[in-house]
Amino acid sequence: MRGLSWRDIARHIWHNPLSLAGTFIIVGLFLLALLAPLLAPHNPYATDPLNKLLPPSARHLMGTDGLGRDVLSRVLYGTRISLWIAFLILLVAGTAGTVVGIVSAYLGGFWDNILMRITDVFMAFPQLILAMAVAAALGPSLTNVVLAISFGAWTVFARLARSRAIAVREEDFVEAARACGAGHLRIVFKHILPLALSPVIVQGTLSMGGIILTAAGLGFLGFGAQPPSPEWGLTVSDGRNFMPHAWWVSTFPGLAIMVTVLGFNLLGDGIRDVLDPKMR
């Protein structure tokens, strides 16, 4: 991780067609999410019982669902939900994990031991199962999806931030700051945190695909967004009811999930290649 600047990473991605493609996909998705109200041909919530389960046509490019809602518009609005949720999870889990990791590294000894053992326990569960348990307990909703997934996702960040912070802790400039009379909080936030942050951000990009998949999975199982939300996982699940005939209701939102995750995985692959040239 040391000695690699953001510029190296950017240059590598620029020269790698796959990760460049990933970057374009992600940028494109962000644009779609931002412009959804302008691009969506119909109101994603407007039901039209007379025109339900219409196959894809010029008027409804992805057909209509069981309530006559336009699938394309719902997929577009779903982009907003998925990206927003993934971003919030990264923010919550990343912040919590980084704080735990740095505090653990800084305090060392007994507290380090306790915090890391707790981290181990959270790592002992499959993410989806843990998220399901939390989401079930809190009640199904989008906010709770964020909490539920963060509940399992913070551990990676804690480990990473800790290992980085342990290295930084021993540096001379931390010693110098302490000699100048800086308090614990100041040392942690001003001197250690900025240096421990870049691996966390990289890990965040790598985790993005998995987080979106888990969130969609929760939605699919009924632990996440509730109707009439156009969340992708939920929409795929809804489409199962019309499966043999109206294949488009499930297929298009699922495709959207795949393309989004693919975008993040391609970009993540590029970043990983820079960090670990063995995989090339």
Partner: protein
């Protein structure tokens, strides 16, 4: 390992009690009279102070008692043991698919790096990793069951076929024991789609690590030596390179084994597969307190067990790690 399990149990307990959910309210419904709620709370021991609850909980866990499910009214352990073989069979079948296809694809693309085969398999791997299992399952059902009719739909056996007598809970073994060939073939046909759905993601992950690990080993000096000795290329690749490339592959296979459980939750929902994943989903949705804790502990246990197996494999394959 025992220590990890104890910590898992403790944290699960406190997390489970700490969350603002009311299991009693969930069973009795919102209109239940207060006396009934109080009675039910006493019955489950929820009126006692938290440390008493904890002591009781640990004590019963040590006896192997996970409590009774509030939903099925049966001991949770009995439920888990009933549903687990079904999931295990699915997961092992999926793993088999993942290992066979993943390793073949990975080795082939490492032997021809930069060729069309390699690019195709890299794209396949990354697309595979990006696909939601539940969606893939639906597409397969749509194609092979609804449209083409080549494979049977959801479920384990056709509804008209009697289940072979339960001996182990593993349907393959049970039908072999009963020498019920009709059930066996019907079951294998039913198993194929869910197993493929679940195995697909593993295939991608295993192919990827196999390729990386093989590429690294193929650059070693001893591979050059082996080639210069005039050994056949297949022998060099399979005997000299592959054996040494196995360690990281085993790690990934171990990780996959654990995460297959996770995928099983989604796959079982799509294919109406009566396994642990579906049990977990239903228990979680109805906030079945003891079942949630039981399933969580059981999966953590499996996780730890998988790690142990991986470590043992490691020691077997790499004598160096036995002394570390």
């Amino acid at each position: 390992m025992a220590l990890v399990i104890w910590r898992v149990m403790t944290i699960t307990f406190f997390v489970a009690r700490g969350i603002p959910a009311d299991p009693v309210g969930a069973i009795l419904g919102p209109q239940a009279p207060p006396e009934a709620i109080e009675q039910e709370r006493q019955r489950w021991g929820l009126d006692k102070p938290i440390y008493v609850q904890y002591a009781r909980y640990m004590e019963s866990l040590l006896r192997g008692d996970l409590g009774r499910s509030l939903r099925t009214r049966r001991p949770v352990l009995q439920d888990i043991l009933q549903f687990f073989p079904t999931t295990a069979e699915l997961a092992l079948a999926a793993l088999l698919i993942g290992v066979v296809f993943g390793i073949s694809v990975g080795v082939i693309s490492a032997v021809y790096p930069g060729r069309v085969v390699d690019h195709a398999s890299r794209v396949f791997a990354i697309v595979g990793l990006s696909m939601p299992a539940f969606w893939l399952g639906l597409l397969l059902l749509l194609g092979f069951y609804y449209k083409l009719g080549w494979l049977p739909g959801p479920g384990q056996l056709p509804y008209w076929l009697p289940r072979p007598p339960r001996a182990t809970g593993f349907l393959i073994i049970d039908s072999l024991l009963a020498q019920d060939w009709t059930a066996l073939t019907a079951y294998l046909r039913h198993l194929s789609m869910p197993a493929f759905t679940l195995g697909w993601i593993s295939t991608a992950a295993i192919a990827r690590i196999t390729r990386a690990s093989m590429l690294e080993v193929l650059r070693e000096e001893y591979i050059k030596t082996a080639r210069m000795k005039g050994l056949k290329e297949e022998r060099v690749v399979m005997r000299h390179a592959f054996k040494n490339a196995l360690l990281p592959i085993i790690t990934v296979v171990g990780i996959r084994l654990a995460s297959l459980l996770e995928g099983a939750v989604l796959t079982e929902t799509v294919f109406a597969w009566p396994g642990l994943g579906r049990y977990a989903t239903h228990s979680f949705l109805s906030i079945d307190f003891n079942a949630v804790v039981g399933v969580a502990i059981f999966t953590a246990f499996l996780y730890a067990f998988c790690n142990l197996v991986v470590d043992l494999f490691y020691a077997y394959l790499n004598p160096k790690s036995r002394y570390m």
